[in-house]
């Protein structure tokens, strides 16, 4: 027996039960520890007004927005008066008053189910405790959240919930971030009385992303409501009644939504957890880094959870303007691509075609020598899908100093008009799409190109029954839409008013036109944009109070590249190049590069272009550097380094800066601050981080409407949702997804 045990024996009265005054307590298994909870009585109707209440802060920054001041009502939460708009529920009123009500089924972005009963509160003059999430607040209501009735009710509900919940917290992946765990500590009893056999439920196979342990499910139905309301797939549902109730897919099938990973976050218990993350780490071991996502042009706000040098998982961050609190599966699960196929050493290709690792000094010297040996107009620089603004401005300055202006961003075709910012960003803003009542999608499939924008459109369609017209090849939509046609002819018909949809646009209050980023690679993009602008003019899409003319870009780097003017000057420059500098550009047509050209690939993954490269310079991925990205709506955001760089790799702009010095055309910036100062002279909006800079209203500078349109139908910009860039193509999970979910 250790000293600690001895001491505690000496300190403690032998047993509280044996010493108690009432010996009949001895065999009573009480569940309630406080005597006042034994006989809960509704608190007295007339209560003396509490002397002075401490000022309370609303829960989680809950804010009240009064659309109409007359609609404000006053309720009392624990005697504390609070003004809320009409239509708020009791739970929302409590949140505004700074009282956090425990809940499982209630989620502010989903419909109200009211089936977990955890949010019971006492309301004066109500005979029973009421479920606060489903009860509308009425004027003068006296809500009591801290009374014995409310506490007893919560304790009872918690005991029932824990009745059939397995005791496997030590091996559960939700352990440490589990609502049930937390709330049973805060509101539950200290023991349960259930001694019968617990029920068990067969696990469901929801695909390669979501792991299910259905025995842990408490039937809050958040996942069912999320799937049908936000994700727009009717895959999940509830079967059976009472203790036979189960969440499932009715017939055995996988969950085929691009937002399916979000059910992991909304599940309050460990029933739905991340399959790739299963048993990998505990959440308290992880370091969270608040950064942004670069796998599409939305720029979803994410938190990268890392342990040591490894990215363990990616979670969404709340941003009402961009991704609300959801992220797409590609964003969430691409992280294992960051650990595979990484370039970690500068490499030079030998004459026999093999790569040999060399030092930075040697690699830069070779590149600089070759760059000086070619004519200036044979030098080409291309930035990739994942490049940050710093590396793009450095690339542009470097290539310009070498005497060439052939520098552009991937996915930007020749003659793209980058002069008018309103011509390539989402002018309505992502959150602004919710006000729209008619959508015209031109050559864009938002579901695969930008899943979060698609979720916003679906939200709008669900809320206001907005009409959606779509021009393009057959595509998947998870909301009602009208397929108007496949090619530019339909666009012309609408522009000339020959199509019934043009009347719909002109009748609409807030019409929205979304043009796909794939149009930038068409040769007739000017004509198509002219047609779109004609439609906009006729339908009054662009007004002083509403700008509904949008472009949905495809890559994280595209908006910043256009801001910085990385636009190809002529179509033929790549075919005549002798020196090609690729900064992470993997999706260019490698066959266009002449065989005798010297190709430098600077990037973080051995993807496609490295096989054509003569010199490889390893760079940092988005999780390892501080980089500025602009999303499709023109909001500038920054990534932050979550993990160290791999091997001998360096930041993109620093490599170009070092190379410029070796090449004798030294760039005039040494620090990030100086790079930002340089960016500010070109595109000031790129230094205003976390701000969306709206574009000024366009005056008609475009060539007027011509019929000079190529009649070929619009193409599909994103063939495979799960594999769009170097990181996602290196990811095993994404490969699994595209194999099982897309059957590719």
């Amino acid at each position: 027996m250790g000293f600690g045990l001895l001491a505690s024996k000496a300190m403690r009265p032998t047993s509280r039960l044996l010493n108690s005054a009432n010996p009949s307590n001895l065999f009573l298994r009480t569940i309630v520890s406080k005597p006042e909870l034994n006989k809960p009585e509704p608190s007295a109707a007339t209560e003396p007004p509490p002397p002075d209440l401490p000022p309370r802060t609303p829960v989680a920054g809950a804010r009240v927005h009064f659309t109409n001041p007359d609609d404000a009502i006053e309720v009392f939460v624990d005697g504390f008066p609070v003004k809320i708009p009409k239509g708020f529920t009791v739970l929302q009123a409590c949140e505004v008053a700074g009282v956090d009500i425990p809940r499982f089924c209630y989620h502010s972005r989903l419909s109200i189910a009211g089936n977990c009963r955890m949010c019971l509160v006492e309301v004066e003059k109500s005979p029973k405790p009421v479920a606060s999430c489903a009860m509308p607040a009425l004027p003068g209501m006296k809500i009591k959240t801290d009374t014995p009735v409310a506490k007893k009710a919560r304790e009872g509900v918690m005991e029932f919930l824990l009745m059939n919940h397995p005791l496997d917290c030590p091996i559960c992946d939700q352990g440490g971030e589990c609502d049930l765990q937390d709330q049973s500590m805060a509101f539950g009893a200290d023991r349960g009385r259930f001694i019968e056999t617990k029920r068990s439920v067969v696990d469901k196979n929801l695909g390669p992303l979501v792991k299910t342990v259905m025995t842990r499910c408490i039937q809050c139905t958040r996942c069912v409501r999320f799937a049908s309301e936000v994700a727009g797939v009717q895959d999940l549902g509830i079967l059976g009644r009472g203790s036979g109730e189960e969440i499932g897919t009715y017939v055995e099938k996988l969950m085929t939504s691009e937002l399916s990973g979000n059910v992991i976050d909304i599940c309050p218990v460990g029933a739905l957890t991340s399959k790739p993350f299963a048993f990998k780490a505990r959440n308290w071991e992880l370091k969270g880094t608040e950064t942004i996502d670069v796998t599409d042009a939305v720029g979803s706000n994410i938190r990268i959870d890392s342990r040591g040098p490894e990215v363990m998982r990616i979670l969404p961050r709340l941003n009402e303007d961009i991704n609300e609190e959801w992220i797409s599966d590609k964003t969430r699960f691409c992280y294992d691509g960051l650990k595979r196929q990484r370039l970690n050493d500068p490499m030079i290709r030998d004459p026999d075609g093999r790569f040999k690792a060399v030092s930075w000094r040697d690699a830069l010297a070779v590149v600089a020598e070759i760059a000086h040996g070619v004519k200036p107009d044979e030098i080409v620089g291309i930035s990739g899908k994942l490049s940050d603004a710093e590396s793009m401005i450095a690339l542009k300055d470097f290539i310009n100093r070498l005497g060439s202006n052939n520098v552009w961003g991937e996915g930007i075709g020749a003659n793209t008009n980058a002069d008018l910012r309103s011509g390539y960003i989402m002018n309505t803003s992502i959150a602004g799409l919710e006000k729209a009542d008619v959508f015209l999608l031109v050559g864009t499939q938002p579901r695969v190109e930008a899943a979060m924008v698609n979720a916003r459109i679906r939200k709008t369609v669900r809320a206001s029954h907005a009409k959606v017209g779509y021009i393009g090849p057959d595509a998947d939509f998870n909301y009602d839409h009208e397929h108007l046609g496949t090619g530019p002819e339909t666009l012309l018909e609408i522009a000339e008013g020959r199509h019934p949809f043009s009347k719909l646009i002109s009748d609409a209050k807030n019409p929205v036109i979304i043009v796909g980023g794939g149009i930038f690679e068409r040769k007739d993009q000017d004509a198509i944009f002219a047609a779109v602008e004609t439609i906009a003019k006729q339908g009054k899409v662009v007004r002083s109070d509403w700008n509904g003319l949008n472009v949905l870009l495809l890559h994280a780097a595209q908006a910043a590249a256009l801001d910085l003017g990385l636009v190809p000057q002529s179509e033929k420059s790549l075919e005549s190049a002798k020196f090609v500098y690729l900064v992470g550009a993997d999706d260019i047509d490698l066959d266009k590069i002449p065989a005798d050209a010297f190709v430098v690939y600077q990037g973080h993954h051995g993807d496609k272009s490295v096989y054509r490269a003569n010199v490889i310079l390893p760079a940092a991925a988005f999780s390892e550097k501080e980089g500025t990205y602009e999303n499709t709506e023109g909001c500038t955001q920054q990534t932050l380094p979550a993990v160290p760089t791999v091997g001998d790799s360096r930041d993109d702009w620093k490599i170009i800066r070092a190379l410029s010095e070796v090449a004798g055309v030294r760039l005039p910036y040494d620090t990030v601050g100086a790079v930002h100062a340089r960016i500010k002279t070109v595109a000031p909006n790129l230094v205003h981080v976390d701000e969306r800079e709206p574009a000024t209203l366009p005056s008609s500078l475009r060539p007027t409407f011509t019929k000079n349109i190529d009649p070929t139908a619009f193409g599909i910009a994103v063939e495979n949702f799960y594999m769009t860039d170097a990181i996602t193509r290196a990811s095993k999970i994404m490969a699994q997804c595209s194999a099982t979910l897309l059957k590719k």
Binding site: K339, L343, K608, V646
Partner: protein, 167 residues
């Protein structure tokens, strides 16, 4: 000393010369004589002392390494009535006594090692290992990340791109 001579004579009588010689060889006397001439004086002297001590003692048991455990209760100084004769003749040390015999040898228990062996858990009872400190670098424990650990764990958490000749 008379007892020693007496017991030698009696065992020669019992076994004959050939038998006695074989007995000596099996028991390791000849080895020790040899070692004696090779001037490993200390250990062999202790060995001879043990052998002499053994005379008239009861062999209580032999463990799986071949160590022999003796006990003699009469005509002996108190506290010296249990002892071990190591199977290892030259490089022996106390850590060669397995756990089950340790208690008997040190008068912690009167149960012999053979009895205690029956209580050894089958599933997780580990094999006894002698302490090899000072026996060479290969026996030194290095943690899994230690540079001297031949099986040092690879802490690289990414998989580098390997250049193939052609895609």
């Amino acid at each position: 000393m008379t007892t020693v001579v007496k017991s030698i004579v009696s065992s020669i009588k019992e076994k004959g010369f050939g038998g006695f010689f074989r007995y000596l060889k099996d028991e390791g006397y000849l080895f020790v004589v040899e070692m004696h001439y090779k001037a490993v004086i200390y250990s062999s002297t202790v060995y001879w002392q043990t052998k002499i001590h053994n005379i008239g003692a009861r062999l209580v048991g032999v463990d799986k390494f071949g160590n022999k455990y003796y006990e003699k209760l009469e005509n002996i100084q108190h506290g010296r009535h249990r002892w071990v004769e190591y199977a290892e003749k030259s490089r022996y040390n106390a850590s060669q006594v397995p756990a089950e015999w340790h208690g008997w040898l040190h008068h912690i228990t009167d149960h012999t090692g053979d009895e205690l062996l029956l209580l050894k858990p089958k599933r997780y009872g580990a094999e006894h290992k002698e302490n090899l400190s000072g026996e060479g670098d290969q026996y030194i424990y290095h943690s899994k990340g230690h540079a001297l650990n031949p099986g040092q764990r690879n802490w690289t958490r990414y998989q580098p791109w390997e250049s193939k000749a052609e895609p």
